[in-house]
Subunit: 491 residues, 2 copies
Amino acid sequence: MGNEVTKRASDYSQWYNDLVLKGGLADYSAVRGCMVIKPYGYTLWENMRDVLDKMFKDTGHTNAYFPLFVPKSFLEKEEGHAEGFAKECAVVTHYRLKGDPQQKGKLIVDPDAQLEEELIVRPTSEAIIWNAYKDWIQSYRDLPLLINQWANVVRWEMRTRLFLRTAEFLWQEGHTAHATAEEAIEEAEKMLHVYADFVENYMALPVIKGVKTPNERFAGALETYCIEALMQDGKALQAGTSHFLGQNFAKAFDVKYLTKENKQEFVWATSWGVSTRLIGALVMAHSDDEGLVLPPRIAPLQVVIVPIYKGPEQKMLVDEKVHAIVAELKQKGISVKYDDNDNTRPGWKFAEYELKGVPVRIAIGPKDIENGVVVARRDTKEKSSVPAAGLADHISGLLDDIQHNLYNRALQYRESHITSVNSWSEFKEVLETKGGFISAHWDGSRETEEKIKEETKATIRCIPLNNAQEQGVCVYSGKPSQQRVLFAVAY
Amino acid sequence: MGNEVTKRASDYSQWYNDLVLKGGLADYSAVRGCMVIKPYGYTLWENMRDVLDKMFKDTGHTNAYFPLFVPKSFLEKEEGHAEGFAKECAVVTHYRLKGDPQQKGKLIVDPDAQLEEELIVRPTSEAIIWNAYKDWIQSYRDLPLLINQWANVVRWEMRTRLFLRTAEFLWQEGHTAHATAEEAIEEAEKMLHVYADFVENYMALPVIKGVKTPNERFAGALETYCIEALMQDGKALQAGTSHFLGQNFAKAFDVKYLTKENKQEFVWATSWGVSTRLIGALVMAHSDDEGLVLPPRIAPLQVVIVPIYKGPEQKMLVDEKVHAIVAELKQKGISVKYDDNDNTRPGWKFAEYELKGVPVRIAIGPKDIENGVVVARRDTKEKSSVPAAGLADHISGLLDDIQHNLYNRALQYRESHITSVNSWSEFKEVLETKGGFISAHWDGSRETEEKIKEETKATIRCIPLNNAQEQGVCVYSGKPSQQRVLFAVAY
């Protein structure tokens, strides 16, 4: 049961896996590429989901639920979409098992129960949703249609990693329909800002907002907006995307509406999603060699209290004080656990809650009640003695402080890892020695983009929104360029 | 766009479908047996889920998430379980599509991408979860393990009905592990009471708590506890089940724990679930010939306000008053919508919100502001004029009153539809003419149970908890019997 964590410097990738597994966030499962999200990790996801869900509702969206299965013929309808997802689909071909006549107690697929048309386990739901929208949208009065779905999806990835890339994952997918292109673009941009707001203010992770190059767009989109974050190993991670889909799905599924002028027009669409992948980003952004470091605003547990005592008499004294503190903290809406399990020693508990990234730990012994309790913050590992009177107010302020400190720390790291380069040799050198985002001129061609990827594994993460226009020459081809774009090696 | 609802008396089944479809709860989908849960229906489900989720957490459970897929060999491990679910499984056999070489733009299943072992889309998660528990449980210190999952499941039903029986449905499934049989039985019973509490106090639907006969038990259970409700057509509906699974799954998946006495023992299990089927029960229990009637405590929308006015000047007067009322209601935690859409007339809106079962409707005209507004309750259709001062308090009380009235009405109906019979002819006559629950002596044999089902379609819904012991003879076989059990034709 060794709970030691691999050091970042020795093996970053193993450090990440250790944190996810030993921190109790998730576990491997018996199904290839699928993970089990354990209670601690799921509570984290619930906290993230609840904040996002409120943001979606506050911006006028409602939730609905569409079928898990997409008939194969639906996937075919939007050509780019089909090409994008066909290679990684879980396909249901039969609807019944039967006893194996050769081997008692074994089951085989019943060959008489083959489906007429195969069903795809949804890799994303545009196709099944737009088929429904055809019936729901008749007139401009039915628009805009602003719907979100929380669901599981399956993409048969060949190389999987806990949270970052799993065959099944949990996500939300917004699917909206609009009367005009302008409205749809406005919606796609609005949701990008909602995502950025969430990731920055709750996950304490600064992001760069931008658009993808045509090459990196979602299958079926005319424009893909994205937020990009930087991990501690200098790799980028796409934290969320929002797509302007034009009329592609409306045309594929024949979804028209009657305008105020009594004309039939195709509807304009967006879709946008974030997933449990965000948990992977969260882990990699803030954690350290002792374990997870979780931002207070979404941490499954904000405060843990560990009693220090000898014998039942001291325990009773401590208990009494702790119960009062717990009540005070809960009244302020702070989640708190009193861990008085006597099977483990305080030192073991301290290490355990550090590993789990609980933002604040309070240790209380019988003497501390008069002198003040010991409060340790996870982010800086600083300890201080705090009088019990007014403790809840102190903790409340401390949680805010930790939240801001995590953001500022990540921002400082990110800012010091955006490097402007002006030559190909510089590009390669920065990528190899420093990593992070590289701001460089690019000639705008798909060919150059792909060659750079082949040679360095770096991709264009985004063209930042409101990007400064600047004359220059492409670092790779030497051709003229109007702006710098952000490159990075990415998860 | 006809929104007329079929009358219960003319076609109960069509009435139900009309309510679900025209009330905006759900829609058929292009995938056989799968439905789309529309925003109004999904909000209802969210409200139900949130209450249940809190109840589960208050009783010590946490949520987690396990894979959608169950390897075929896992399903085989518990024999009864395999037999119970094999016949209705969606089976994933391939993980890739490819372009059809015969037809451009079409996709076919890639024969080179066949899975070594087929994956079953979970019909329930005992197998995949107990496989994980094997790694999670080593010692008595790891017990009890109290986990719940909110998920979608798939059972390939041949005859489906919106909400009541769909191929895919949403549910929660609790899966707990315990050191002793007593503890597991206590847990299974506790969760039955939680379900009964929820269904009675939030859904306003009285239930009978009992246990199933061996014949009707969940596949793999030693005891199945259930709550049974009665619909307005005299048919019963199983609203939730909780299973004592004994050591069946622990043995199938080799899950043992070290006792305090240092011995290895198999773990004891429970599982329990309720699903979107509850929405079907809700619709059938309270609604009437004008549409849905929803209990205030879980209604997606509790109050709707419709303005009555002529011209923009009156509208402004009304608006001002309504905004104050909306603020007051929201402050009390009451959900409210101001429908001032000017595309439809007040009469149309009245009918629409009746159809949707909104508990309270307020109509406000410019004169009503001084004299009082018109408040209509959905359950009794009574209208009254209520002064604007103190309106929020009045509405708050009215919502409670509606909640209790719905429960009492359903209870009265249920109580008048439990009929004790003492002969086979009486049994058949009551079943045909009156329906409802029939309380009758049964000889305890599977044979009799099945013959009664064959002849009348009635099944034993449950043996009520704390059932009175009473000497008698079986209504069907004439053999001696120690207690009455409840029969009914069921959904």
